[in-house]
Amino acid sequence: MASTRVNSPETTENSGAPWADPSSQGTVDVAPESLRPTGPSGPSTHARSIGPLTEGLRLAALKWHLLINTLTRSTWILVGTILGALYMLFIVGSFGSGLFMVANESPEVIRTVAVFFGTVLLLGWWIIPVVSSKADSSLDPSRLALFPLRISGIQIGQILGAVIGIPGIATLLITAAWITSWRASGLALAVALPCALLGLLLAFTGSRAVTALSANFNKQRRAGEIISIVLLGLVVLLGPLFALIGRGIDQVWEQLPTWAGYLAWTPLGAAWAIPADVADGQWVTALARLAISLATLVLLAVVWRVALRRALSDATGDAARSGSKSVSGVGLFGRLPATGWGAVMARCLTYWFKDPRYSATLLILPAMAAAFWFISGDGTGPIWALACFVALLMAYSISADVGYDNTAFTLHLLAPVKGSDDRLGRALAMFCIAVPFLIAMLALTMIRTGGWAYLPGMIGICAALLLAGAGVVSVMSARYTYPVPPPGASPMKTPQGYTLLNVIIQFVILAAVALMALPPVILVIVQVVSGEAMWGWLALAVGVVEGLGIFWLGIVLGGKWLDRRGPELLQEVAQYR
């Protein structure tokens, strides 16, 4: 598409086009000959050809407009973003001042801190977008495919765009603090600035390369689902790392400089160690590390380029149209009761297996079990929390349900499904998934700890969390929702307009569910202190009774609330994109 600017007489007639070259404006011929094609039709374009840098700048400007438009769409999004920005400032402030103070420490400490800081920063930029479902979905290449853009233009735009937004600004600020930590040596300080730039380039390039790669994988629907889930699982399976930390902080502390030494020879840490080498006069080492960093940068840029090219040339490929195989019957709909709640339950259960937004959970749970197993190290402490955690998360999970339905929820409104049927069906489907997992987790706990005496109490706690939690969530999610990826999107996609306020809503729901465990937890503590098994059985009874009571109440109240404000709920979830 790189055509040079054509400034032949023919082009002067297109002055009506706003993007026409101003220099070629002048003669406004409305003559008939302007209405018939004169030259050969082809790639010669009226649009001014612009360099990749300009393209990049325009894309960054686009990102800026998108950000502003998202912010001004609703007051609450704006408020949430401002709160988020304040929180970010607080975090950056505390870490930044820490980095600033480090300058007074010994060179070895400075080097260790610098390398660890850089490693964590890079890992954060590379991994968080993929696993946290907070990948930057603006400037998505498949949306740019129709425009005659160079790949390098898109790359520049995405790198510049990375700075626009809260994470980008936070990274800039804290990297500035990192530079100041080298002020003990003037030479190191001078080198730190280009090193910081190199590090930032690595962060942004890597982040986009990883995102582009995963987007490509996401094209093949099944493959995408599997890879997203495996990545999630991998992160949780970093269990052995947790186990190491569990050994005791003292040992770890002594080891840190050695590890920093190793990290400084990896692509993650190399760029951040260079100022220290320069300060020591180790020029060869510094050059070697520079070579490692540059090679990594080139590799990432090439991978990114390839992934982008594929994304651009296959932009419409939501492909895999023939994906699902044909099923003859109606599946669960034929087996569960032919009632409103039975139908909702059958539909939700089908989704638990068919929709990656749900089924990701099914794979995270075993990964979580593995992580807890490792964290427990030689002791038995944390594994006790495993089953409780699973119960908590599963109860919480139905808070996203109507959001996941998105406008498909219309069908429930039109039928109309009674609110309590809707709530009950969703909760029962979740129980069908949660109970087998809970049994497995409790069995795991018992095998690991041998603490059979506490089994009744544990069951009581789990019952309270799962049942009462489902009740609480059934009420709250009838009123408060938060943006989730729309149907058909990868579970990794960031929904638009997700702010700190949504985090607060999610946190409040989680806390309310956790609170439900209090009565049986107190009884189990009494059992631990007194050593009498009776208290455990009491915890079981209390947990089950409390759970069932609050569950019933939640279904009834949540149902009433849903009946009353169903249309408003539909309007709310319809905005999640």
Binding site: S324, T339, G340, R347, T407, T410, L411, L414, K418
Partner: protein, 282 residues
């Protein structure tokens, strides 16, 4: 969900509809998004519609004229800022207020919304079944009707596939089937023929005509005037959230074609291509 006998209470009937037993009566229906105030432009502005029982009613207008907003409010999906909607049922039923007794009203309606997601991880057969079961229908009845609808929509081959793998036209057809399974007295269809192929569209038209002859009422929104003129017996023209004209198709169009009459009413045709003299290959 059990079937409650939600008979409407004639004692509470508000200002009686003028004509006897309308299928759908809309009075002063207004929707203002955001904060109602002097600056706010209503998406629907005091809309009044009278849809006679057994009619094939077309609602036409440009994009953004307020068709979807009006139909959403009429079907209980979007709470109106002001105004009322009544839905008639069978020939013996009193009209019920959609927003006062929504359960009874919604039982009488089958709705095809435009541009909403479906539960598209279900197969076509599952989706139609789900729609029936949600309405508390008997399992065997749902099963029989589902198969009938799938055959009528010519979706036998695709019925076992997930709806997300359907083309746009097939998706419309399966959604239409899901809207018809409970044999409603009134069908409200928002853009039912968009991206449906001509053969299927003819099929659907035949099904709908049969339905109106059996006493059912159909309301379709569309911006294809030709289609509305051929298919509908009544029509309402909307623009800028208001109803500009309504009545039988012949009353509304007079001597002109519906399309010319529409352009005449809406008043928006520019001389096409005027400012685009540069739009040509070089």
């Amino acid at each position: 969900m059990s079937i409650h006998a939600h008979s409407s209470r004639p004692a509470e009937q508000p200002p009686q509809p003028l004509a006897p037993n309308p299928a759908l009566l809309i009075q002063d229906l207004t929707k203002v998004y955001g904060h109602p105030g002097p600056g706010a432009r209503p998406a629907a502005d005091r809309v009044n519609l009278h849809v006679p029982r057994g009619s094939f009613y077309g609602l036409v207008g440009r994009n953004g004229a307020g068709k979807t907003t009006t139909l959403s409010m009429a079907t209980g999906l979007l709470r109106p800022t002001a105004g009322k909607v009544w839905v008639g049922g069978g020939s013996q039923d009193q009209p019920v207020d959609v927003w006062a007794d929504s359960v009874a009203a919604k039982r009488r309606m089958g709705v095809l919304p435009d541009g909403t997601h479906l539960f598209d991880r279900l197969t076509g057969r599952q989706l139609v079944t789900y729609s029936g079961l949600l309405r508390g229908m008997d399992r065997e009845l749902v099963k029989d009707r589902t198969e009938d609808l799938i055959r009528a929509m010519d979706l036998q081959d695709a019925a076992g596939k997930q709806v997300q793998d359907y083309s746009a036209g097939m998706t419309k057809k399966i959604a239409l089937a899901a809207a018809m399974i409970h044999a409603p007295a009134l069908l409200v269809l928002d853009e039912p023929f968009e991206s449906v192929d001509p053969v299927s569209a003819a099929n659907i038209r035949a099904i709908l005509h049969q339905y109106t002859q059996a006493g059912g009422t159909v309301v379709v929104s569309s911006h294809v005037m030709d289609l509305v003129q051929r298919m509908c017996d009544h029509v309402a023209v909307m623009d800028n959230g208001r109803v500009l004209a309504q009545g039988t198709v012949d009353e509304v169009r007079g001597e002109m074609s519906l399309e010319d009459r529409f352009v005449d009413l809406v008043g928006g045709r520019t001389d096409a291509g005027e400012g685009l003299s540069w739009l040509r290959p070089e």
